[in-house]
Symmetry: C2
Subunit: 246 residues, 2 copies
């Protein structure tokens, strides 16, 4: 069940079959299912386990006092939420399901055991958190410096690349369960403008977005439009070779 997580971590470092087995085992203890809009963790809570997304999409978000909502990041299969809990007293944002989501709950102690036993896993998890942070910074750039078309192009590129990392793309297509309202809450745009922008991008044949499915006819072109450079995702693929000791 940890297949997507393993695929992702292997973009950082090769894992031994024992390490993979340990991951499989740790993630097969406890399952949970969430419906769209259901929350996994609330702002203010102190989680006591780590959650691995097996299936479906979730998002981190914050809601301002006056109701405005901002999505802070997406969690797709293979993503884990909140190693942070080892240190921080409480969540400073919430995590909610976007599509139907299946998660594996990994108790705190299991994580500690895992990382104590396998230092390479520990480093891989650390890498994973650092990449997430790097994504946050890139989002600051995206939502502050780019216009609507650029922003949307950039977001599509990021999600497509991330899904491709874990084998969840199909040629130039992937699942894409976001509504236009959610796109707006991500990019800091109104739903009306999200719609306009999408029309424009469809007209330019940059994307085909229909019925929860995204197709990118020409990824390179879209990357150019979005000023997208994947360096911030730190896909240090040579890790595969360099660090192998299986």
């Amino acid at each position: 069940m940890a297949i997507y997580l393993i695929r992702k971590l292997e973009h950082f470092t090769k894992l031994s079959s024992e390490e993979k087995r340990a991951l499989e085992q740790a993630t097969s203890l406890k399952r949970r299912h969430l419906n769209p809009r259901e929350d996994l963790i609330y702002e203010g809570e102190k989680p006591d386990s780590v959650n691995l997304i097996n299936d479906g999409w979730a998002c981190r978000y914050k809601v301002l006092e006056d109701g405005r909502r901002q999505i802070l990041g997406f969690l797709v299969p293979g993503d884990v939420c909140d190693m942070r809990m080892f240190i921080l007293k409480e969540m400073d944002h919430s995590i909610g399901a976007i599509s139907p989501v299946s998660v594996s709950e990994i108790p705190k102690d299991t994580i500690i055991e895992l990382t104590d036993t396998y230092p390479r896993l520990s480093r891989a998890f650390w890498w994973n958190s650092l990449v997430e942070d790097s994504i946050s910074r890139e989002w600051v750039v995206n939502n502050s410096q780019r216009d609507a078309v650029e922003r949307m192009a950039h977001l599509f590129c990021e999600l497509f690349v991330r899904l491709r990392m874990v084998g969840l793309t199909n040629g130039d297509s992937c699942e894409f369960p976001l509504t236009q309202a959610e796109l707006g809450e991500t990019l800091g745009l109104s739903t009306v403008h999200v719609n306009r922008t999408l029309q424009e991008m469809r007209a330019a044949n940059l994307v085909v977005l229909k019925g929860k499915s995204l197709t990118i006819p020409n990824l390179e072109a879209l990357q150019e439009v979005g000023l997208f450079n994947d360096n911030y995702l730190h896909l240090e693929r040579n890790g595969h070779e360099m660090d192998a000791n299986e």
Copy 2:
């Protein structure tokens, strides 16, 4: 020389005098001075030491291919740059000086020794990184959901609170070396609009900003305007009491 760092970390956990001494020692080996606009680290580089800001302000930033620049965060005295280097191959952003800056360079090995010897320091550094990440997320919210006045108010509150943490405020005032252009690059606004917004805030007596000095006559009012809530800074002050074992 690590006084600001120590003050900051003690917002998370009490430190023993031995731990403090070790920090002082680690940070007194090598100094560096930077002039405004000089870079500490470039995007693409792989740093091999950690830098502690002793004096002055620096910032993390990214530049888009077409020249647009976004400031991603500020580093003030007591802030450290880039524990990340233990894991990531290269910097995904640059760090540059804003005012004249004095930094202490701490070699990688010293950091390892320090965190191996004093697990509490290790946790404190971890906390520190998590807070930085949390700030990034808050900036996504700020620059995506808030209008110009709110954004600016929020930023002023954040910086004031952070400076107060390390004892660098003086009543309701603090040093504030940012130019209006830099404010614009931070908040995703043009310099003209930064100026307009400042006029408006001065007229409302929300801030006095003149000659590199910021005064906030009524912090509570400013927090309200900026929808500022300091929870994302994770000032877990009870750490002082709870965790003392000196």
